[in-house]
Point group: C2
Chain length 283, copies 2
């Protein structure tokens, strides 16, 4: 591990074709200290084996993706969501990360009531937060870009995520600043400063916003430098809060998934050094 | 014209294949009192002829689309934008509408500085507002959905539009509430109420947000009822401000453009009666 990469983490979604073990090896070879894990890769390897593999490689787990999908309105859907999130909390604790990323879910089929869905998210968080805290895990609310409000996450801004977190201790419910999802927000500098004051920033994730928007809109995430995001003000705002945690790179992109993982990691570390690292020192 | 359609306006973009004259005839046949005009259709017909055609048909012009694209950073680009917007202001006045819809523009090529672009919009508005006011025309700022922040409009929320309008008299700079662009905003009820208090609502536009997002993201606008928007709370919030102006239907959608205009107008009036009209009376 080289010092300048001391906070850079590879999210396994970026190298989608790699197994967990291959991603861990790739991260070690690239000199990274951490990986962000998706639950599907963990399940493939088996939870205990996954935890052991990461630990044996000397890596941190910067976050587990993902819990959430809390917006069901029917009793069976609510029960299933609570059960699945309790499992995810236990998995996060077993993997040695305190950050469970929460994509809270969109509207149920045929439902158009955003206010109701947002209220249900608040209710489910109240039910899950004590359990998470007992396990030393934070529920990390992810505001998603508003283009996903109906089908992925009814949390669309960092301020809204902080409002939902507010009833809970900061060691139970936190937020992630994902540049792709929030770069457009004219209120972003204030929201990031607020998140810092409230001790809620559990993760900073970077990737670019590519144009045109991909045919599958989920795949518009791009390598830093390939899209329209200026990482300077966002990174500075995060650094100015005193955040000293990992910076995770999570990219969903068909071209990047078709590129050999080693090449992706070389580009990723280069772009991180060029576009993010220089702004990580508080001013 | 039937009473229940007394505030419904056809934006000519919805029936894209129709000339201005055909759109005016179609609106009259459907019993509508107003049309929203795009400048390309006006230019085809000739400005004076267009004004005469609408007047002779006994219709109002609810708005002219569009001015804007104010984010150029180079002197020639700035001059061109000012000149084009002054022309649009004169066109609006000639057509007898006081509402010039402003799509303010995205980032210049290769530029990633949203803060700078937003500051240039404020500067251009200061240069244009007195001219607009002299002509009895309001510059109507349109917040666009955040997925268009980089390539269409650096104004992404109604609150941001109101902040940009604030230095100017309400009869010079106003805002439009377009359901497609703002329905996701968790702060929307407050923003609409604020827009009302500040006397800035110049237009209310309705269309749906279709999923999946169209391959050309601009074409995801759908007929009311076909997408994910609940028009009830938005319409009520607008009505509660005391807004009594026209409700314009502006849809960019390949399937709708391929449908005969008369059929589109039948569906449009049906859906308006079902989904919007019942909520237009202040509570």
């Amino acid at each position: 591990m080289t010092d300048d990469l001391a906070r850079l983490s590879l999210n396994t979604a970026t190298t989608k074709k790699w197994t967990l073990s291959e991603a861990v090896d790739g991260a070690v070879r690239a000199g990274l200290p951490a990986v962000g894990l998706w639950r599907d890769r963990v399940a493939e390897a088996g939870l205990k084996t996954a935890a052991q593999t990461v630990r044996d490689a000397g890596l941190r787990v910067s976050s587990l993706c993902r819990g959430g999908f809390l917006t069901a309105a029917d009793p069976a859907g609510v029960r299933a969501a609570l059960e699945d999130n309790r499992s995810a909390i236990v998995e996060a604790a077993t993997l040695g990360t305190d950050a469970l990323i929460m994509v809270v879910g969109g509207l149920p089929d045929g439902d158009r009531d955003l206010t109701g869905a947002r209220a249900r998210v608040a209710d489910r968080l109240a039910e899950l937060a004590p359990f998470a805290r007992e396990h030393g895990v934070r529920l990390v609310l992810e505001p998603l870009h508003p283009m996903y409000v109906a089908d992925r996450a009814v949390i669309s801004t960092l301020d809204q995520a902080l409002d939902l977190a507010r009833p809970h201790p900061a060691d139970a419910v936190a937020v992630v600043v994902d540049a792709f999802h929030v770069f457009w927000d004219p209120n972003l500098p204030h929201s990031i400063a607020r998140a810092g004051r409230e001790h809620r920033i559990a993760s900073y994730q970077v990737c670019d916003f590519n144009l045109p928007i991909a045919t599958d809109a989920l795949l518009s995430r791009g390598m830093m430098g390939d899209g329209v995001i200026d990482f300077t003000p966002i990174t500075r705002a995060v650094a100015d809060t005193g955040y000293t945690g990992d910076i995770e790179v999570e990219i969903f992109n068909a071209d990047i998934w078709a590129t050999p993982g080693g090449e992706v990691l070389t580009t990723m570390t280069d772009r991180y050094r060029e576009l993010v690292l220089p702004h990580l020192t508080p001013e």
